[in-house]
Amino acid sequence: MSLPLRIFALILVILYLISILVLVKKNRLLLRYSLLWFFAGLVMLVIVIWPGLLFWAAGLLNIEVPANGLFGICILLGIILMISFTVVISDFSGKIKTLVQNQALLEERIRELEGRKTAPAEAGADSKKA
């Protein structure tokens, strides 16, 4: 890898890490979800600084073109990220469902109580707890 290319890549990776830091700082990205992106940036940084590492690892796994090893790592990382997104989305959808139900149950309760206030004669009809 030529020196100008490495310097260019290094600048890109540093910009990438800074933008994630800024997003976290501005509260646009939660720290807990930024960790995976920091990890991805770290992997990039290591490869830019020691590209020999990539060639060594590719040789170890008998990958003929080291770039293919790089693509493999990228795809794997992408899959891990997407799975973690769907985990987060599933968690959210469960929480949203519970919130929606809570809100609706409370709203029904308010309607019931307000109805009881204006028309106390009907109050007995809907609650047989006594």
Partner: protein, 230 residues
């Protein structure tokens, strides 16, 4: 015994009033609760104008989230029995007595209204019946329980299992999965013959194109359903 009849409704303006008044006429002792799952038609107005008790979901949750909301209501107000009944007129109120009987006398925790025991009334298409038979087989494999009409949405549970469903209930196509859930929590089942009618209004939530997804999703759900936390 306090009985709550939960009727989930999504765009049921044509049939909801008939369904509710039919139940109220035959069972004045029971409370009726309609869950309006964010209908876009006049369902909400009809419920309000007629003073029908209902919960108004602010966003559409689907049948599972709507029914679970009903179970949560039943637990909050400590009903002894919670019944699920469709709002589209498929489930006749005349069959409520036989559906409720096993739960009321304590011989079962969950009672399922079944089209297939006597084979009377609306039987659905041959393809659906084949699908249902397959799901029934899977549930038998998984739980050892022999239930024929596993997709029936006409069912009654006691408070203990209403509480279970208020904690855990699938979001879409929940009926077969909830049987596995209840079975693994140790429920005793009763399957009661009922005659169902063809829907009065509305469209089935399971369109023809979705049936493949339905079968895959429900089969996986049955096979992966874990024992509920107590």
């Amino acid at each position: 015994m306090k009985i709550l009849i939960i009727i989930p409704a999504y765009n049921e303006e044509d049939s909801i009033l008939d369904t509710v008044s039919g139940v109220k006429k035959l069972h004045p002792e029971a409370d009726v609760l309609v869950i309006n799952d964010c209908s876009r038609d006049r369902t909400e107005e009809i419920l309000t104008e007629n003073g029908i008790r209902h919960v108004r979901l602010p966003v559409n949750l689907g049948i599972g989230g709507a029914m679970q909301c009903g179970y949560r209501y039943a637990c909050l107000r400590e009903y002894d029995v919670a019944v699920q009944m469709d709002g589209d007129g498929q489930h006749p109120a005349e069959e409520l007595d036989s559906l409720l009987a096993p739960v009321l006398d304590g011989s079962a925790d969950m009672s399922i209204g079944s089209r297939f025991i006597k084979g009377e009334g609306f039987q659905s298409s041959a393809m659906r019946r084949t699908g249902i038979r397959f799901l029934s087989f899977l549930i038998r494999l998984r739980t050892g329980q022999r239930i024929l009409d596993v997709t029936s949405g006409y069912r009654a549970v006691n408070l203990r299992y209403a509480a279970l469903f208020s904690r855990e209930y699938a979001q879409d196509y929940p009926e077969p999965e909830s049987l596995v859930l209840a079975a693994r929590a140790g429920a005793r089942f009763a399957e009661v013959p009922v005659q169902m009618r063809q829907r009065q209004g509305g469209v089935s939530s399971i369109s023809f194109l979705r049936s493949i997804y339905y079968m895959i999703k429900v089969s996986l759900a049955i096979l992966t359903c874990s024992t509920p936390r107590s």
